[in-house]
């Protein structure tokens, strides 16, 4: 099982058929959970399969996407950025304009509607940067559901504004001190909560990871990003984009953009991991694909940062939203079969892109999409002027201004 069999790309008819019945994308994915949770995720899978083919489910989603989230998000031609880079045309998919300021709510809405259909009254979530926690707290407030958010103690400290937002929205934020108090530990504690409160609790996972059916379900909910982008590009340019680029922590915004384009073989797909201080032996990065190897954590097999004995390592990134030692299993598969290319961008490069985006486009991006933008800045100048790039502007940077101020040596007294 451990050997990775790379399948030549041209032997695969479609990249959109996964996962299989075992929840696998090739060797990745699966259901590596304790027996207590197994009946719950089987029930979740059954209920999701029913909802997925129920028009009333999608009608409710569409209504709320439009009137509550503000979809469709614009596909914006970044003209000054394009001129500055002097090569490919750069479009931005503006998911940072969503209610709550990021793509996270696309998925939360789907899971909460499903939780309501299943009669669950208590919602738990893990969060890193706080964006998924805020989105979950928001939708729970809207529907009057009890919301508990697990957040690493370290992240509670560096993302104070989002902690306050969640509390304003009525959620209980539980700082996680087990392990090293980061996103992976928050996920462990959310799983522990779920094992303890199996009857009334729904676990709203924030990314395309975890046991089957989460990776597929979250991808399906986030795919609205790619579906819209495809239509909007046809409208704007009358063709498909040549390259699509998104940042990856767990990989949900990227999977959402990529999925509808997987079988459009002319479209090259690039995922950008957090390179932290550089992808090398010091392991001060979060680039699971570039610097990790396959392992099993949080219910699925995927590329992980780990030591030689299979112990999980902490990632490092300036962006709390990318600070996770794993990655969604479908990305691991797309990486191994070669359908998508994965690269790493360092903190420094992301911060440069962050500032340039503010100055040239009047958009303060989150640090996560700043990684994607940094890669655009690397490749666009040498591409022809008729080459079209879509990058996913998956979150706004309000939450990050304190981190960036600190980096730039700006003393922010409030």
């Amino acid at each position: 099982m451990q050997g990775v069999t790379a399948m030549p790309e041209d032997l695969i008819n479609s990249f959109m058929t996964g996962p299989d019945e075992q929840g696998r994308f090739g060797q990745f994915g699966g259901r590596f959970v304790s027996e207590t949770l197994m009946p719950l995720i089987l029930e979740l899978e059954r209920q999701y399969e029913i909802a997925k083919t129920d028009p009333t489910f999608w009608a409710e989603m569409d209504f709320l996407w439009k009137h509550y989230v503000g979809r469709p998000s614009p596909l914006y031609f970044a003209e000054r950025m394009t001129d500055h880079l002097g090569g490919a045309k750069v479009y931005m998919k503006r998911d940072e304009l969503n209610h709550t300021g990021a793509h996270k709510i696309n998925n939360v809405l789907g899971q909460i509607i499903l939780a309501r259909r299943m009669g669950k009254s208590r919602i738990i979530a893990e969060t890193g940067a706080g964006q998924h926690g805020v989105a979950t707290a928001t939708v729970c407030a809207k529907f009057g559901l009890k919301c508990i958010v697990y957040m690493g103690a370290h992240d509670v400290e560096r993302q104070a504004p989002n902690v306050f937002r969640m509390r304003l929205l009525g959620a209980e934020v539980i700082p996680v001190t087990s392990g090293r108090g980061t996103l992976k530990d928050a996920m462990n504690d959310a799983l522990r909560d779920w094992v303890t409160n199996v009857r009334d609790t729904f676990y709203c996972i924030g990314t395309v990871a975890g046991p089957h059916p989460y990776p597929a379900m979250v991808r399906d909910f986030q795919s609205i990003i790619g579906k819209e982008a495809k239509e909007q590009m046809m409208e704007a340019e009358g063709c498909l984009p040549d390259t699509i680029i998104a940042a990856i922590g767990g990989g949900s915004n990227a999977m959402g953009l990529f999925y509808p384009f997987l079988d459009d073989k002319s479209v090259s797909i690039i995922g950008v991991e957090a390179g932290g201080k550089g992808v090398d032996d010091r392991m001060e990065h979060c680039a699971s694909l570039t610097g990790g190897r396959p392992g099993v954590l949080h219910g699925n097999r995927t590329y992980l940062l780990q030591d030689g004995d299979g112990q999980i390592l902490e990632g490092f990134s300036i962006s709390a939203g990318l600070d996770y030692p794993g990655i969604g299993p479908e990305h691991s598969w797309l990486h191994d079969v070669g359908r998508a290319q994965y690269v790493a961008i360092t903190d420094k490069e992301a911060l440069e892109a962050f500032q340039l985006c503010c100055q040239l486009e009047g958009i303060i991006p989150a640090l996560e999409p700043s990684h994607a933008l940094a890669h655009v800045m690397k490749i666009a100048p040498s591409l022809p002027k008729d080459h079209i790039i879509i990058m996913n502007m998956c979150g706004r940077g309000d939450k990050d201004i304190f981190t960036v101020a600190r980096y730039l040596g700006f003393d922010m007294k409030i």
Binding site: M1, Q2, Q22, G30, R31, F32, V33, S34, E35, T36, L37, M38, P39, L40, S178, G179, K184, D185, N188, L191, R192, V195, T196, N197, V198, G295, V296, L297, H298, G299, R301, L304, Q306, G308, D309, G310, Q311, I312
Partner: protein, 263 residues
Amino acid sequence: MTRIDDTFARLRSEGRKAFVAYVMAGDPDYDTSLQIVLGLPGAGVDIIELGMPFTDPMADGPTIQLAGQRALAGGQTLERTLQIARELRKVNKTTPIVMMGYYNPIFSRGVDSFLSAATEAGIDGLIIVDLPPEEDSELCLPANKAGLNFIRLATPTTDDKRLPKVLENTSGFVYYVSITGITGAAAAQSADVAPEVARIKSQTDLPVIVGFGIRTPDNARDIARIADGAVVGSAIVSEIAAGRSVADVLAFVESLADGAHSA
């Protein structure tokens, strides 16, 4: 017949229930941990569960998590955990050793390499928390083939419809998790557990051992009465965490064993 089967056959013939003790390998350090493990059979332990430390033990409470962190901080590895088993086997050929933990360290080493090393070290069974029957091809089937018992957890959420699947490739014994929750959490009530044990026994001839939430000799006795034995983990690990001497830890284990054996 495996060492585990022999142990239950012997206990049955003596009319006694099994006492199973869990300790984390390498906690608080390798040498102390080895001394404790070597003393367990003498303290009345019928089956030893040897915890394999993991950074992300998602089914365990704080007590076991911290034990794992202490062990890892002390340089414990999968290889050194096997070494503890080898040392015990030098002086003890009869007490079964079951390794308990999570899949990634085994997957990282390679399943075949791990199984041959475990067999050679005198390991008898495996309890791998994050490998449900749906993932049997990963380790359960290869382990069975290598002659190791793959012991499965059954839980209050395992309903009658699912139970046959859980029992299908299980051997040695069934570990009934008496609560929905993590290790070291709320106490198990024997009145609640008895019908569940009966439910499992109606579908299998394997012994059913009950764990999670058992903390005192009286708990152990009450639970052992309604099952084929009792497991204690967190309560023992707490004693180790409190810095008790090896002798004190073993005296506590002996009191638990006496409780279970008085059932």
